[in-house]
């Protein structure tokens, strides 16, 4: 059973608007693959192209090396879990799960066997005769998974299926989805705007922005080695400082950050930097730590504007004294314990970082991501097409 999916130079246009720029991508059989991006980035469009609800304007989709051009939705070896689940409200749990088998002419006894087996897989034994309207949110979620698995798809497509659940349940379902994926060995293609979900469950993640795939990598690489400024600011939290390259030698880069003085960082992997080039230095909040005002290495002096104590860690919202830019600093319990009562609003502190942790990427004018909402706040292309999913 080959559940590999290949996109070959796929382009999707709606009238004048290009929802998907030319995209080629190979997803391995049995892989848990996520598309991560803000709303309007084209990830749902891509999912609809794989499922067959949309026909690409250009290019081809292959599933298990079979071309999917001209194969209608109901004949593709895929199954979709919809954002609102789309369970059939007038049917029982059994009938929902068995619908796909009924369509395929499987006899009643065999159907019931399959649905019982799947109900056991999603831990819903005994719920078969219930109406779906009687179930809780999490149970509905499980029925939707069972219904999709019943048709033995080679590829399972999941369109933000956890977004309707509350936080606790969402985290629990992550673990469960991952376990189901491992047990069944089916290729999962998962769409989400929640980076936590993507990083947590996926073997590989494609970060998308404005109809373009920015980077495809495993979650750890994505976090540590962002390939573009968009990925750096969308995946995890990042402080972004504008600077100009003064000296780059191999990985190590020296930068002139204007009012902030001289800073140092590490060039992003596969990034070519030339002297004098405009660049962005990305500093994760957890890589900053308080240092003495005259300590060696790069230093940033900032004034504390707000303190969020979260127990295991603490987040400081600060403003750089020299440039007025915002800087978020996350301090682990170990660090904050040593400075009990020291973090007062208005206080000035000096923060240092290891240049090896600070990734330098060319300033590509990539869209910025709003820290609070995770929405793209800049980048005119995205804005223009932002409403088009």
């Amino acid at each position: 059973m080959d559940g590999s999916v290949r996109l070959d130079e796929v382009v999707m246009r709606f009238g004048d608007f290009t929802a998907i720029e030319k995209t080629s991508l190979a997803i391995g059989s049995g892989e848990f693959f996520s598309f991560l991006g803000p709303s309007g980035c084209g990830k749902t469009t891509l999912l609809n192209i794989v499922s067959g609800f949309l026909t690409p304007s250009e290019g081809q989709v292959f599933i298990g090396d079979e071309p999917m051009a001209g194969v209608p939705v109901n004949r593709r070896p895929t199954a979709m879990i919809f954002q609102n689940l789309a369970l059939f409200p007038l049917m029982t749990v059994y009938e929902n799960i068995e619908f796909g088998l009924e369509v395929r002419g499987v006899d009643k006894r065999k159907r019931r066997e399959v649905s019982e087996r799947l109900l056991a897989l999603v831990a819903l034994e005994g719920s078969g005769p219930k109406r779906v309207t009687e179930l809780s949110g999490g149970q509905k979620q499980r029925v939707a998974i069972a219904r999709a698995l019943a048709v033995e798809p080679r590829v399972l497509l999941l369109d933000e299926p956890l977004s309707a659940l509350d936080l606790k349940l969402r985290q629990h379902m992550r673990t469960e989805l991952k376990a189901i994926q491992r047990k069944t060995g089916i290729t999962f293609i998962y769409i989400t705007h929640d980076q936590g979900e993507a990083l947590n469950m996926s073997d590989r993640v494609a970060v998308m922005s404005a109809g373009r795939i920015q980077q495809v990598a495993d979650p750890m690489t994505l976090y540590r080695e962002p390939a573009t400024g968009f990925v750096a600011s969308f995946v995890g939290e990042n402080n972004r400082l504008q600077a100009r390259v003064t000296d780059s030698e191999g990985e190590r880069v020296r930068l002139d950050a204007g009012a902030l003085g001289e800073l140092a960082g590490r060039a992003g992997r596969e990034t070519r930097l030339t002297n004098g080039q405009a660049a962005a230095l990305f500093l994760r909040p957890e890589h900053l730590r308080p240092v003495a005002a005259d300590a060696a290495g790069p230093r940033l002096e900032a004034e504390i504007e707000a303190v969020h104590f979260e127990g295991a860690w603490m987040m400081l919202e600060t403003r750089l004294v020299a440039s007025g830019e915002k800087l978020r600093v996350q301090l682990g319990h170990e660090v904050s314990r040593g400075h009990a009562g020291a973090f007062a609003i208005g206080q000035r502190m000096t923060f240092g970082f290891d240049p090896a942790d600070a990734v330098v990427l060319p300033d590509d004018g990539s869209p910025m991501v709003d820290e609070e909402t995770g929405e793209v706040v800049d980048g005119d292309r995205t804005k223009a097409g932002g409403t088009h999913v």
Partner: protein
């Protein structure tokens, strides 16, 4: 209910509304019906005999229908034809309602609805006459069909039931399209997409997903169409041939040509009972309640 009205409109206005509603229901609906029932249970007498020894309750007027072969045949034929009209109207309206609710763009839907409604700005008699012209032996439909070479000689559409069927389906299509449209419109598109995704073809998607969801709307449309068809007078009178007489025409004849109101009232009452029976049957079969129809 009075409390709600009172809270909304205040005491005097609420009282006025309830009084008017009461007058309307009692004076204009209930009393005339009761009088019809009374008429139907009494023999047709000369004015001089009223109050005399012959003026007593009898079921003779009802028995007439069962004794008269022709009337009985027409009675059942009317029911059967009304069922046919209902099914035909549903068959025409369902695809249209589906198109309006799920396929058409808002502009197309608006245009389509406008085109459906515009003819209904014209009086029903005139609309029916226009079908009389279209379907006439030397009318435009026959001309077009002959020009296209589809038929060799004109067809007599207006003899037999054909004309009446066409006229009625056309006359009642709105009463079917709108309830069905409303019902289909409320269906989540993802339901249809999910069914497709799980492998269902068009027919199965409609049979298992769309139609069950639209059932209350379909039942409402069927009941309204059936009632209107069974009680229709203008269409069979204008488009019908002598062979396709409608039961309403017989009732009309008793009242206005036979001058026998008592007999006419009995016939009318039987038709009413039958319609109510049919309505309850449809509601039972489709498992819908009166509340669903009100929506």
């Amino acid at each position: 209910m009075f409390r709600q009205l009172q809270a909304r409109f205040g005491g005097p206005l609420a009282m006025a509304i309830v009084t008017l509603l009461g007058i309307w229901l009692i004076v204009m609906v209930t009393l005339p019906q009761l009088q019809m029932i009374e008429y139907s249970l009494k023999p047709n007498l000369l004015p001089a005999q009223i109050g005399g020894p012959d003026d007593r309750f009898t079921l003779a007027n009802y028995a007439t229908l069962f004794d008269n072969d022709i009337h009985r045949t027409i009675f059942f034929k009317t029911i059967w034809s009304s069922v046919l009209v209902t099914l035909l109207t549903l068959a025409v309206s369902y695809p249209l309602a589906w198109y309006l609710a799920k396929v058409a763009t808002p502009r197309q839907a608006a245009l389509c609805i406008l085109l459906l409604i515009v003819p209904f700005w014209i009086n029903e008699i005139l609309r029916t006459y226009s079908w009389f012209i279209i379907l006439a032996f030397r009318g435009p439909l026959n001309e077009v069909l002959m020009m296209l070479g589809l038929i060799e000689r004109p067809i007599r559409f207006l003899s037999g039931n054909g004309g009446v069927m066409v006229g009625m389906v056309y006359a009642y299509i709105l009463f079917m399209v709108f309830p069905v449209y409303n019902a289909i419109e409320s269906l989540d598109d993802n339901q249809v997409r999910a069914a497709r995704d799980l492998g269902a073809g068009t027919v199965r998607t409609h049979r298992r997903i769309v139609i069950p969801h639209a059932k209350p709307g379909i039942a409402t449309g069927c009941i309204m169409t059936f009632m209107l068809a069974a009680g229709s007078y203008a269409v069979p009178a204008l488009l019908g041939s002598p062979g396709s007489r409608w039961f309403t025409q017989i009732i009309y004849n008793w009242f206005f040509e036979g001058g026998n109101w008592n007999q006419g009232a009995a016939y009318a009452f039987l038709l009413l009972v039958l319609c109510i029976g049919f309505m309850s049957l449809v509601m039972k079969v489709f498992k819908v309640g009166l509340g669903d129809i009100g929506r």
